[in-house]
């Protein structure tokens, strides 16, 4: 579904990604690990279309299309979902309205009918249970005054509702206690299917105790320096990133 070839990207003239190659098939879970500043978040943001990053070389094909041609909203409409490392607070826009608008925009773009407020509420009930999200958070402004754990749960909740084909979790484990981490991981695991794929971007191995990756890639100075199975994550945890240098 996703073919990344020799991808180079920079921000404010500084090159961060220096030739990434990555191939992802439906049903797979890929973990991207690496020390701070290795380009993990940049890769997540470039794939979801953040405009501050400039792609200088390489290509990304998504179901045969040139992904880099698409605006961020078009990528989302085609099934790409970025769970933000720092979810944004949107005062004055309620969580439930935001999410229904998002779902309907995605439906519209795919030639499906829009869903009305009542049907939407019914549909999201189960998904809220999945991430153990309190009902009260639905009517609050998006992420405003949410705790760190609530924000991350909200990301996974949005993912559960929007049902992406390719989910990119950007440091979703950062700032989570064990309990929240388990809830988030359970959510991701439940949503996993043969048709969709997940990229888990993380600094630490601990999330991978809960979300078992099929492949682990180590990102270092903007390049994937090592790829392997899930055992690579344990090796990294044991030896640290210095071992790669």
């Amino acid at each position: 579904m996703l073919e990344v070839k020799d991808l180079k990207a920079s921000i404010a003239g500084k090159e961060i990604l220096r030739g990434i190659n990555l191939s992802i098939k439906p049903g797979e879970v890929h973990a991207i690990m690496g020390p701070n500043g290795s380009g993990k978040s940049t890769l997540a943001n470039v794939l979801s279309g953040r405009e501050e990053y400039e792609v200088t070389a390489g290509s990304v094909s998504y179901f045969g299309d040139d992904l880099l041609e698409f605006a961020p909203e078009e990528r989302a409409q085609k099934g790409i979902f970025l769970a933000f490392q720092y979810p944004v607070e949107i005062p004055g826009v309620s969580n439930v309205y935001f999410l229904r608008t998002a779902l309907n925009e995605i439906r519209k773009a795919n030639g499906e009918e829009e869903i009305d407020a009542a049907a939407f509420l019914k549909m999201i009930r189960k998904k809220m249970e999945l991430v153990e999200m309190e009902k009260a958070l639905l009517n609050r402004s998006v992420n405003e005054g949410f705790s760190g754990g609530e924000k991350k749960r909200n990301e996974i909740f949005q993912m559960a509702v929007l049902e992406p084909k390719l989910a990119i979790l950007d440091e979703t484990d950062s700032g989570l206690d064990i309990d929240a981490l388990r809830v988030v991981a359970d959510g991701v695991n439940t949503l996993k299917s043969k048709e969709n794929a997940t990229i888990v971007v993380t600094h630490y191995q601990r999330l991978l105790d809960y979300i078992i990756p099929d492949f682990v890639h180590v990102l270092y100075k903007g390049q994937i320096v090592k790829s392997g199975g899930k055992e690579l994550a344990f090796e990294l945890e044991e030896k640290g990133y210095d071992w790669l240098k």
Binding site: S48, G49, R50, E51, A71, P72, E73, R75, A76, Q77, F81, L82, F84, P87, V88, I90, P91, G92, V93, F98, L99, T101, A102, L103, E105, I106, A109, S141, Q158, L162
Partner: protein
Amino acid sequence: MNLNDKNTEKYIKAFETYFNGSVSQPFHKVRQQAASNFEKLGFPTTKKEEWRFTNIASIAKADFKIAEKKNAPTVSLEDIEPFLLANWQGARIVFIDGFYSEHLSDIKNISDKITLEPLSSHFEGKAGLVNKNLSKIATFDDEAFTALNTAFTTEGCLVHIPAKVVENNGIHIIHIAASGRTLTNPRNMILCEDNSQALVIESYHTLCTDDVFVNSVTEISVGENTRLYHYKLQDESLKSNHISNVAINQKSNSNYISASFIFGGKLVRNNISTKLDGEGISSTLNGLYISREDQHIDNNTFIDHAKPHCESHELYRGILMDKSKGVFSGKILVRQDAQKTDAKQSNNCLLLYEDAQIDAKPQLEIYADDVKCTHGATVGQLDESAMFYFRARGIPKEKALSMLTYAFAEEIITGIKDDSLRDRVEYLLLDRLKSHQA
């Protein structure tokens, strides 16, 4: 003779020929006084502190003719259809170029105890309601535009709510400038006697493509234990120069709740001043404006806390696009007697484009020692990270922009008491955002 004198003189000359046959009316003396005050004051310049951020030289210099009833064009109900509120249950009174239009008005749907008619029906009597009150609240000693309006006050609108009358259907006063290159002087008087309640909407529109100068004055008295909802919607063309003076006098335990919604006008100045002339008064002055192209919108508020135990609330929100300019000056005066005053003022702006500009000037003058006064001002830009968050969820840029902007304005819109007006304001806001992006 300087330029300002010459500009002023033009209108004074017109005044002398304008009122043939009305000189016997008692009110004509007030007009003459107003004309001579206007001559003395002249148009304000930016040297005056209250006009520092707003230069009205273009109005002073322009060659506007005084609107005359005989020249007012014929306007049909179809012409004004866009200005009517959908599902409106109340009464409507329409003025073209400041002159009452009977065939466009519909004043059936209110209590027959209420007076809703042109002011001029009261000019002949001596001790009448109008003669007793006109220019007592909106004074013209130091306000040139009020003086100019008063000098040319001919018809205007009178709303009189007698004591103990509660009118929930609402009254919609529509002022339309229909003749280009003219000065129109809309005048409204809203008198609410003790223990009454009413909702009054003033709306201002244009039906011509030329420049106009609309110089409106509204004076309001709110009796004891009385509640008045007062809204102003200004949606004139971008060729309109709109100066407005709203003056309110509130008596004990009254509640005045107002909001102004400014969408139109090239050069706009809104003065609103309320005197809290009793105890236990509550006063709310809210405002929302959205400006585009080279619009200049100046909101100038003055709250006079004269007696103890009163509260005032002010919330202004501005959305500025293109190279438009906004000004907010909010003065709160707490006099020595006004202990236990609770005054809150807040002014927030959203600059959607880098070329837009806002000048804000809060001004607190406090002479009492046991009071609570707060003011805050923020100027923000649309948050790029918020925008990306929307788009990353599949919501296109334009929709994200309107959702974010609407969220900014929402508090003022949801506070509107009347459903028809709320729908219209919401529609206009979203329409301006949309047409801007198109």
